[in-house]
């Protein structure tokens, strides 16, 4: 019988015990070097890592963990630091014996002053309730679009539409004009350079791109070379393809994609300038590149924020509308809760004015 629980911040040497807890909770293994990449190597600094241990015994046992990863954001020319809650976990045997929300309150009191805002990318029902009680806003959800890259895929959809209209397959009637649109689009793609994870960090494009264009973006993760290098090019879990559009002087941009056979995930896409036209052309060019490389489907994700850089949002909505009509499905609600801290409120940040992509995940 334990006499209770104690909490403390991370100390050197804790990684192995935290990874063991992570494996027990998630069933997934994580090496110490992967832990170090995630929690101790990000450009925003060390993560805030909090441990809950049994107290009153000779050998305290780790039974709970809560972390907040520092993610560098910007608002125009202003640098910000946001915290992403991550790896909140308690051993099942202790869930009814320790009052976890009480601990998270304590952790949050300790780490909130460091950040301008806090956010979570995913959570089960209990985590959602807890974060609501902690004052997080839940009005934004992730929107995942699955877009055909090739005419072959488009025709496959067209065939599916015809089959449904002929009553040969189950499903609701689709909008044929959306398919027509899909078949006619992407007539003039921008030339793209593709870089692997070794070449991308050495490419001069990334020395200047974000510095030149960040002023046109409101709340969004920073894309300085350090940020991209940590998140993508030194990511221990995934190899990426970085696509650079810099042939034109007045319209540039990049996308970073993960290719899985015939489908790909666009994990980040940033046009410069930040206009609907530039976004649409960049996305269409990425789709063309993927199509030329035998990738038939692209997954593109962002959040439902209504004023996500209005011009980019407009470009995304066009594609979103198309993708939704083509796929004839409503994406499942997956919240992206967030909360401004006292610092964020002092800076008058807007809780719903974010442009985020899967850059805020870790790629696992």
């Amino acid at each position: 019988m334990t006499a209770g629980y104690a909490w403390r911040p991370y100390r050197d040497g804790d990684a192995r015990a935290i990874n063991d807890l992570y494996t027990k909770i998630t069933g997934t293994t994580r090496s110490e070097s992967e832990f170090e990449w995630q929690w101790l190597s990000a450009p925003g600094g060390n993560g805030g890592i909090w441990l809950i241990e049994t107290a009153g015994t000779d050998a305290p046992k780790l039974v709970g963990h809560h972390g907040v990863m520092p993610v560098r954001f910007s608002n125009g020319e202003s640098d910000l630091l946001f915290g992403k809650t991550e790896n909140t976990m308690v051993l099942p045997d202790h869930r009814n014996r320790l009052l976890y929300p009480r601990f998270e309150r304590r952790f949050a009191n300790a780490y909130e002053p460091r950040f301008d805002a806090l956010f979570s990318t995913f959570g089960d029902a209990s985590a959602i309730r807890l974060r609501k009680a902690m004052g997080y806003d839940f009005s934004s959800t992730w929107v995942q679009l699955q877009i055909p890259t090739s005419r072959r895929a488009d025709y496959g959809l067209l065939l599916a539409v015809l089959l449904r209209r002929l009553g040969l397959a189950a499903g609701r009637r689709r909008d044929a004009s959306a398919v027509d649109h899909a078949v006619r689009r992407r007539t003039n793609p921008l030339p793209l350079r593709s870089l692997d994870d070794d070449a991308a960090p050495r490419d001069a494009f990334f020395d200047r791109f974000w510095a030149e264009h960040r002023r046109n973006f409101r709340l969004t993760p920073r894309r300085d070379k350090d940020d991209l290098n940590w998140r993508f090019w030194t990511n221990p879990y995934v190899s990426y393809v970085t696509l650079v559009s810099d042939a034109l002087s007045n319209e540039q941009g990049y996308a970073i994609v993960r290719v899985n056979g015939e489908s790909a995930v666009v994990e980040d896409i940033v046009p410069g300038p930040a206009t609907a036209g530039s976004f649409a052309r960049l996305l269409d060019s990425v789709l063309s590149w993927l199509s030329a490389n035998s990738v038939n489907w692209a997954n593109v994700s962002t959040t439902s924020d209504s004023c996500t850089n209005d011009d980019i949002a407009s470009g995304l909505r066009q594609r979103q509308s198309l993708a939704r009509r083509l796929r004839n499905r409503t994406p499942a609600a997956r919240y992206m809760p967030r909360k401004l801290t006292a610092s964020g409120k002092d800076k008058n940040l807007d809780c719903h004015d974010w442009y985020v992509t899967p850059i805020v995940f870790e790629g696992r």
């Binding site: 629980y5 009052l99 009480r102 807890l130």
Partner: protein, 78 residues
């Protein structure tokens, strides 16, 4: 000092996710009543506010029913 009836009233007003019906069985564990950790946390916050008694972490596991919680508060009050 809160009576059991007052404690039950406080619990019913704690904004729980589960709709409990009065009378609440005072010997049933909160988890058996369908309460999750946030519900229990809310109950303890309400109790601490109402009684000005701070409940240490080491007691949480034992205070898992209305009976136990009431007995603990009575002991602190005496």
């Amino acid at each position: 000092m809160l009576s059991k009836a007052q404690l039950e009233e406080l619990i019913l007003g704690a904004g729980l996710v589960v709709e409990l019906e009065s009378p609440i069985p005072t010997d049933r564990e909160f988890s058996d009543l369908g309460l999750d950790s946030l519900d229990v946390y809310n109950i303890f916050v309400e109790v601490e506010v109402q009684t000005s008694i701070e409940i240490p972490d080491s007691e949480i596991a034992n205070l898992n029913t209305i009976d136990n919680l009431h007995a603990y508060l009575a002991a602190q009050d005496s």
